[in-house]
C-alpha cells in the first residue's frame, strides 16, 4: 500500500519561494499565473493491509510531525 502526502504553506504564511517562482514564470513569458505555492511531496510505502487504519495512523503522523499546523496544510491520500 502506498500513501501520498502533499504539504503546502498556509495561505496566510509568506511564501517567498512560491513568489519567486511565479515571478520567474512571468519573466519567461508564461501568462496568467495567479499564484504559485511551493510545498513538499512525500511518498510513504506501507506494509499495512487495512487502509482505514493506515490512514488514521498517517493522519496522526501528519498532524504531529510531517507537517507543522502553524504554517502548513496537508493532504493525505492512501491508495
Amino acid at each position: 500500500m502506498k500513501a501520498r502526502i502533499i504539504i503546502t504553506p498556509k495561505r496566510a504564511v509568506l511564501d517567498p519561494q512560491g513568489k519567486t517562482v511565479q515571478n520567474a514564470l512571468e519573466h519567461m513569458g508564461y501568462s496568467g499565473i495567479q499564484a504559485v505555492h511551493v510545498g513538499k511531496y512525500l511518498e510513504v510505502e506501507l506494509a499495512a493491509t487495512d487502509r482505514e487504519a493506515a490512514r488514521k495512523q498517517l493522519d496522526d503522523a501528519c498532524h504531529k510531525f510531517l507537517s507543522n499546523p502553524v504554517i502548513e496544510d496537508y493532504k493525505l491520500e492512501v491508495e
Binding site: 517567498p16 510531525f65 507543522n68 502553524v70
Partner: protein, 237 residues
C-alpha cells in the same frame, strides 16, 4: 550555577555556549548528548544553534523528538529556565514550548551578519539585566529565521509582553531594512507564557567578549544567572 548545553547531530556554537558560561561567566556548564533522558540536576538548559538532523523536513522538527527533549519539556513545565538560540529557537517552536514557527527568510538568502536588537521588556529571566536604552549588537547566521505566528498569537504575545527582542537599526527603530529575515513585527525573540522559556535567532554566545567585536550578548546570560540566583534563594527560603 549548573548549565547543560544540549548537543544534537549537527549542533553548532554548542562549544561556544559552554565556553561563555564556563570561562567568561565562571559557571559550571557541560554538553549533554540528545540521547540522554535526564538533565542531571541542571539549573538551566541552553539549546544551541546549528542544523540539527540536517534541517530535514523542517528546522527542529526531528530534534524536538529526541529523548532529551522529554526531559526539557518536564523541566520547563516545572519552571526551569530554557534558552534556545537559533536552531534552539526553532526546536522550541516545533516542540510547542514557544508559539509560532520560523520559516525561510523572506530574501531566500542565508544571512550572516551583525544586527541590532532592541530589548522590548525587562520582565523576563533573559532580559532583566539589560540596560534600558541599550541596543544589543549580536550576530545572526540563519536561512530560516523569519518568525511567523497567526494574528491571534501575535496579538497575545504583545498583550502579554512576551516579545523580548526586535530587530532595529542603529537608532533603535524597527524598520523594514533592519529586519534581516522578514520576521513579523521584526520579532527576534520571544518567551513563553510562564516566561521561563525563551528563544531568539541571533547568537549571544558569539558576542560575549570584547575580543569578538561585541560583548553585548553577555547581558542575556548575566540576566539568566541573576534570575537563577534569585530562584535558588527563593527555593531555599
Amino acid at each position: 550555577m549548573n548549565f547543560v548545553v544540549l548537543q544534537f547531530p549537527a549542533s553548532n556554537c554548542d562549544q561556544d555556549a559552554v565556553h561563555v558560561l564556563q570561562n567568561v561567566l565562571g559557571h559550571s556548564a557541560r554538553l549533554l548528548w540528545h540521547k540522554e533522558t535526564s538533565l542531571g540536576g541542571a539549573d538551566a538548559v541552553v539549546i544551541p544553534g546549528g542544523f540539527s538532523y540536517g534541517d530535514y523536513l523542517r528546522t527542529g522538527a526531528i530534534a524536538r523528538f529526541s529523548p532529551v527533549m522529554q526531559a526539557v519539556q518536564q523541566f520547563a513545565a516545572n519552571g526551569g529556565p530554557v534558552l534556545g538560540i537559533c536552531n534552539g529557537f526553532q526546536i522550541l517552536c516545533e516542540a510547542g514550548l514557544l508559539p509560532g514557527a520560523l520559516i525561510r527568510n523572506r530574501s531566500l538568502q542565508f544571512r550572516c551578519e551583525h544586527v541590532y536588537l532592541k530589548t522590548v521588556t525587562r520582565n523576563s529571566p533573559f532580559t532583566r539585566k539589560i540596560g534600558d536604552s541599550k541596543l544589543l549588537r549580536v550576530p545572526i547566521a540563519h536561512g530560516e529565521g523569519c518568525y511567523f505566528a497567526d494574528a491571534d498569537t501575535l496579538q497575545r504575545l504583545n498583550a502579554e509582553d512576551r516579545v523580548l527582542w526586535r530587530y532595529v537599526n542603529a537608532q533603535g527603530e524597527p524598520t523594514e531594512i533592519s529586519n534581516p529575515n522578514g520576521s513579523l513585527e521584526n520579532i527576534a525573540g520571544i518567551c513563553s507564557e510562564a516566561r521561563n522559556v525563551a528563544g531568539l535567532m541571533p547568537h549571544p554566545e558569539r558576542a560575549s567578549e570584547p575580543l569578538l567585536g561585541s560583548a553585548d550578548g553577555r547581558m542575556i546570560f548575566e540576566s539568566l544567572v541573576d534570575s537563577m540566583a534569585e530562584r535558588a534563594t527563593a527555593k531555599a527560603a
